[in-house]
């Protein structure tokens, strides 16, 4: 039997607005989803007693019990594969992959079952599952802890892929992903989990933007920056810096990586004529490749410069003493902006 559910969310804050980090917003989003639906269960390595290595599931096992927050054996294929069975049984599993680079032992289950059960069962079986992945670099970690594997999943039909970049989206998008009847890969910008600078007012009473929609975060007319996850902050910082030099940049947070919602990007590019796509993932055969292709197809006559990219290199993630070279930063983004403007 699960322990009685105490609505800490409700207890803590009589008003609907709370100032939260991305990490705390995810935690509250999970808690709310678990309160709203007894079929929502959380599973992964160290998610119970420890609350996850990033503490995103902190306190959930204590409040919801060991049957709803499972410290699983150490095997990602096991976590994902059993979540498939639980979903067939009517649960809505939320799986945590401890770090991006450890999703690969579960890759087979994700590609062969999670992505295809609905298709293979002629739509009779649903796969309402969320796979949470802390992703990206910038945390000075050892190998396999800083990767951006999202393109593999966006490439796989049957999966939906999203990424949040701020606390409001963290709170809402996670709940929306849990409510989705299809499997959702949920990429979280781990380096900003506990960032005080990204702490934001989260209004838990508003109607959120649709999950599978991109959003313009800053308007401008010289060039458009499109990014997702941790790269959004880099773009916002770049736009702020460019503004001081009199260049006005539009910044779009992609939010949904599959399906892509490029309407706002097309509209923006028709206005600015220039697009720079930014992501930590290596460029080769990636989401930024797809964006560039679609934009040239839809906005060919509006483009004043080729679509440019600022991404990780086509290498494995380097030892992190070198990560400042690998990661797109303000300078590299502004350099690309200059190139686009000078074209």
């Amino acid at each position: 039997m699960a322990a009685p559910v105490i609505s800490r969310a409700a207890e803590q804050s009589p008003s609907a607005t709370q100032k939260l980090t991305i990490g705390k917003a995810l935690n509250l989003g999970l808690r709310t989803a678990m309160e709203n639906d007894p079929k929502v269960i959380v599973m992964g390595e160290d998610v119970g007693k420890l609350g996850g290595v990033f503490r995103i599931t902190d306190g959930l096992q204590k409040d919801f019990g060991e049957h709803r927050v499972l410290d699983t054996p150490l095997a990602e294929s096991g976590i994902i594969g059993t979540a498939v069975g639980l979903a067939i049984r009517g649960y809505r599993p939320v799986c945590e992959i401890q770090f991006d680079g450890f999703i690969f032992p579960g890759f087979d289950q994700i590609v062969s079952q999670v992505a295809k059960v609905h298709f293979r069962s002629e739509g009779r079986l649903r796969m309402p599952m969320v796979i949470r992945v802390p992703f990206g670099g910038g945390i000075g970690a050892v190998e396999h802890h800083s990767e951006s594997p999202e393109s593999y999943f966006a490439h796989t039909a049957g999966l939906r892929v999203v990424s949040c970049s701020n606390a409001v989206d963290a709170y809402w998008m996670l709940q929306q992903a849990i409510q989705c009847e299809d499997p959702v890969l949920f990429f979280e910008p781990k380096r900003y989990y506990h960032s005080g600078a990204l702490r934001a007012e989260v209004d838990t009473a508003v109607t959120p933007a649709p999950l599978f929609s991109s959003q313009v975060l800053r308007t401008g007319n010289s060039a458009t920056l499109v990014a997702y996850g941790p790269s959004v902050k880099v773009c916002l910082d770049a736009a702020a810096a460019a503004d001081e030099d009199g260049t006005s940049l539009e910044v779009i947070d992609l939010r949904t990586l599959s399906p892509l919602d490029l309407g706002p990007v097309f509209e923006s590019v028709r206005k600015t004529g220039r697009l720079i796509a930014v992501s930590e993932a290596p460029a080769n055969s990636s989401l930024t490749s797809e964006i560039a292709m679609r934009v040239q197809q839809e906005c060919f006559y509006s483009l004043e410069a080729p679509v440019l990219r600022v991404t990780g290199f086509d290498t494995p993630y380097p030892p992190t003493k070198l990560e400042e070279h690998f990661l797109p930063d303000l300078d590299r983004v502004l350099h690309a902006v200059d190139r686009a403007l000078a074209w």
């Binding site: 290595v53 294929s77 050892v142 086509d314 992190t320 070279h325």
Partner: protein
């Protein structure tokens, strides 16, 4: 033990079924039923007819050598931890408490044998003759590692849990295919040892490694350091039964050894390697030990385990029992202990100095060694990035 009586089903009054632990010989993963022990925590040498022959060449000098090994690697470990705390290393993965398991296993290997470590095997690295300085880059996050893997017969550390077990199985298959087992000239024979933790035993790669090694009679010793914890998860999350039992299902022997007893770890490892070299196929060793420190420097064990547990294990310290044995039996004097202490301080000093002097790698390193053969696309990417950086330098000059 006879199986328990079946529980009668009375409608409306269901009694609890016996727990799996009661069904299977009353054992739990954490029970310590038959760990081989040759040197007790109190420093008593226990005779063992089967395993003593594997220690016939171990006299006072050798035992003092193991003591020195363990003190040095512990000192190294503590220095690594301190360097992380001082911001010189990005992270440290402590081996504290696992010295006997690693030195026992490491000293059983011969130069021809191959070893596949996980990420905590600093003690095994030491036994393989790896310069401990060469491990620092991994934790300083400045390189992946830099010893000569083929010469030392010690592969790079592996962080993805369980991956190296299958790789080791393949290597051992190769040893067998190359006719390096079962030769009458024993000097011709080889074996492989792979290191992994209790948590790793749940990974598919480890189970597949068991299967491959088994069906190909690969000369592979699976050396599992059961330190009771996989980050915050106790061994019961991975297994109902003590882990060494797993071997039986795959068709090879499994042994549990007191992982804090360097002599037992050495004897059992030598026996297991001998089995492998003779061509009898793999062996699983479960070294029952304890992770006395945090999982890594980023972990906070107070969130999930009680400090009494650590206190109990301190009484079984792997180094202390050897020290007591040596001192009590008059095999070593204070001069010896002092000299090992001094040597360990000197090692720590060297490691420190080396760490502080480690250069920041240059940006071209990002692109190095991704491929062996030239790769035009990546080469162009590198050149473009280096040009971009050079642009800043030019700006700086103006």
């Amino acid at each position: 033990m006879p199986p328990p009586e079946p529980t009668p089903m009375v409608p409306g009054s269901r009694t609890a079924a016996p727990s799996p632990h009661q069904v299977i010989e009353g054992l739990k993963a954490t029970d310590d039923p038959r760990a081989l022990e040759l040197l007790t925590p109190e420093g008593e040498r226990v005779a063992h007819p089967e395993f003593d022959p594997y220690l016939s060449d171990i006299g006072p000098e050798e035992l003092k050598g193991f003591y020195r090994d363990m003190v040095l690697v512990r000192r190294y470990d503590r220095e690594g931890n301190a360097l992380q705390r001082q911001g010189q290393l990005g992270i440290w993965v402590p081996l504290l408490g696992q010295e006997a398991a690693q030195i026992g296993a490491g000293r059983a290997l011969t130069p021809k044998d191959m070893a596949f470590p996980s990420y905590r095997e600093h003690g095994v690295a030491w036994c393989r003759g790896v310069d401990l300085k060469d491990l620092l880059g991994i934790f300083r996050c400045s390189d992946h590692s830099s010893w000569d893997y083929q010469e030392k017969r010690f592969t790079p550390y592996t962080i993805v849990i369980g991956n190296q077990v299958l790789n080791a199985a393949g290597y051992a298959m190769g040893q067998r295919f190359d006719g390096k087992v079962g030769n009458t000239d024993e000097a011709e024979n080889e074996a492989t040892m792979v290191f992994f933790g209790d948590g790793a035993t749940s990974q598919g790669d480890v189970h597949e490694g068991f299967v491959w090694a088994s069906v190909y009679d690969a000369p592979l010793v699976f050396f599992c350091q059961n330190n009771q914890w996989a980050i915050s998860e106790p061994t019961e999350r991975q297994s109902r039964l003590p882990l060494y039992n797993r071997a039986r299902g795959y068709g090879f022997p499994g042994v549990r050894v007191d992982g804090n007893d360097v002599l037992a770890c050495l004897a059992v490892s030598r026996w297991a390697l001998e089995q492998c070299r003779a061509g009898n196929g793999p062996v699983l060793i479960e070294a029952f030990t304890y992770r006395m420190d945090a999982h890594t420097t980023t972990d906070d064990p107070t969130r999930y385990r009680l400090s009494d547990e650590l206190e109990t294990w301190k009484l079984k310290d792997p180094i202390e029992r050897v020290r007591v044995h040596l001192a009590r039996n008059g095999l070593a004097d204070n001069e010896f202990f002092d000299s090992v202490q001094a040597e360990s301080d000197a090692l720590a000093e060297q490691i420190r100095e080396h760490c502080f002097a480690m250069p920041q790698p240059g940006p071209e390193r990002v692109f190095a060694n991704v491929y062996h053969d030239p790769h035009p696309v990546l080469d162009a990417q590198r050149d473009e990035y280096l040009d971009y950086l050079a642009g800043f330098e030019e700006e700086g000059v103006h």
